[in-house]
Structure formats: structure tokens, C-alpha cells
């Protein structure tokens, strides 16, 4: 799974993207977040202490969204455009 990061989240994670093979039991966004929190301390810190949004293939999604057909996941802070 390709995961990309933007803005403050990108700086906290320390990279622009990561390719991670998710286990088969990871079905939803919530599952993925739980998995990443155990994956390393950096993800744990981000998901525990910062506001974030998740987009699957360029669509904002909720935590119960099924990611089984998703090609690209983006994780980013609340937007501040305009």
C-alpha cells in the first residue's frame, strides 16, 4: 500500500511517502491506523497527538472506510487553503 503524507504530518513522519505491506486482516482505515501505531513510535505519536485526515484515492474518508480496493492513501492535517 502506498501511503503519502503532507504538510505537518509529512514533517513529523520524516518522509513524503511509504510503501507498506498491510496484513490481510487490515480492512478499514481504523485498522490501518491501529496497525501503523504499532508499526513504530513515530506513527504512534502522530496519530495519538495530532489532528489528521485520511483520503483514499483522493477522496476524504471516515475511519470505518474499507481500504481493500484503495491504491493510494494520503494522511494530512486539517487544510488551510484559500
Amino acid at each position: 500500500m502506498k501511503i503519502i503524507f503532507f504538510a505537518k504530518i509529512r514533517e513529523l513522519i520524516g518522509k513524503e511517502e511509504e510503501n507498506i505491506i498491510l496484513p490481510e486482516n487490515i480492512i478499514t482505515v481504523n485498522d490501518m491506523v491501529s496497525f501503523l501505531k504499532q508499526y513504530n513510535k513515530i506513527y504512534y505519536n502522530v496519530f495519538e497527538n495530532y489532528d489528521f485526515f485520511i483520503a483514499c484515492d483522493e477522496e476524504l474518508v471516515d475511519m470505518d472506510y474499507n481500504i481493500s480496493k484503495t491504491k493510494e492513501i494520503a494522511i494530512f492535517p486539517p487544510v488551510t487553503g484559500g
Binding site: 503519502i4 503532507f6 504538510a7 505537518k8 483520503a55 483522493e58 477522496e59 476524504l60 494520503a74 494530512f76 492535517p77 486539517p78 487544510v79 488551510t80 487553503g81 484559500g82
Partner: protein, 146 residues
């Protein structure tokens, strides 16, 4: 016609409005121009950096313009949003809406900027004479869109 542009270079909003007037489809044209403002503190803003998620930003702006287009029966709609490092007073965003009646043009324009502020994946980082930090989302923007 819907025209969406995301670009690093500046734009001339007078030229863009004139293009709308030239086509003379409908009489009411409303323009919103957002610019980089200086900080209301002792710090001096050196640059405002705008980062964005290219594929999603274009998609969100297109969908937002399309919704406004259909809801207020627009004849034309232009959205330009810049990215990169900008100076104080430089333009960031331009929204032009055109329709038959002024109220619809105003409402459509306001809808687009309000929606964009809390949904389009752009992020601002302020570089001041003392430090650099990411701008936090303004709660007022969220309240205004509800």
C-alpha cells in the same frame, strides 16, 4: 464553463475579469481575491509557503465549482489557487462567478471559498523573522461553512 488552475506563478485579476466581461454571457460577475496578509504580531512575515496535494486539490476544486455551477445556474466560474512561497500582499486565490443575477453570483462565490477553506488539500506555512510554523485551521472557517 468551469476553469480551474493551480499554479505557482501570479495572476492578473483585472485581466481575468475582463475575459469574463468579453464573453457577455450574463450580467453579474462577482470576484473574490484572497491575498497574503501580514501578521498581527511583532513578528514579521517573510514568506507564506503553500503546499498542496495536486491530484486531490484539482479534483476538489472541480467538484466544488461544479456544485456551485449547478446550484446557482452559473454561466462561468474560474478558480485560481497558488502554491509555493509567496510574499505579503501577493495574491493567493481568485474566484470569479458569473450568472444572470447578482445574488446568485455572490452566493455561489461565497459557497466556493467557504467550502474550499475546509475541504481543499492546501496547507499554509508561515516563515517569519523568528521561526516557521504551520498555520492551524481556523474554527471560524468551519462554523461559517455549516
Amino acid at each position: 464553463m468551469i476553469d480551474i488552475r493551480i499554479q505557482s506563478k501570479g495572476f492578473n485579476f483585472e485581466k481575468e475579469i475582463k475575459k469574463f466581461q468579453k464573453t457577455k454571457i450574463d450580467g453579474a460577475v462577482v470576484c473574490f481575491l484572497g491575498s497574503v496578509r501580514d501578521l498581527e504580531s511583532e513578528e514579521e512575515l517573510k514568506k507564506l509557503e503553500i503546499e498542496y496535494y495536486p491530484k486531490m486539490a484539482k479534483k476538489v476544486l472541480k467538484e466544488t465549482a461544479k456544485k456551485a455551477f449547478d446550484k446557482w445556474n452559473l454561466s462561468q466560474c474560474l478558480i485560481i489557487h497558488r502554491f509555493g512561497k509567496l510574499n505579503v500582499n501577493e495574491s493567493i486565490v481568485l474566484i470569479i462567478t458569473q450568472t444572470k443575477h447578482r445574488k446568485d453570483a455572490f452566493r455561489a462565490n461565497e459557497y466556493i471559498i467557504d467550502f474550499l477553506k475546509i475541504n481543499a488539500p492546501f496547507w499554509k506555512k508561515e516563515h517569519t523573522n523568528r521561526k516557521s510554523y504551520w498555520v492551524e485551521q481556523n474554527k471560524k472557517d468551519i462554523d461559517m461553512s455549516i
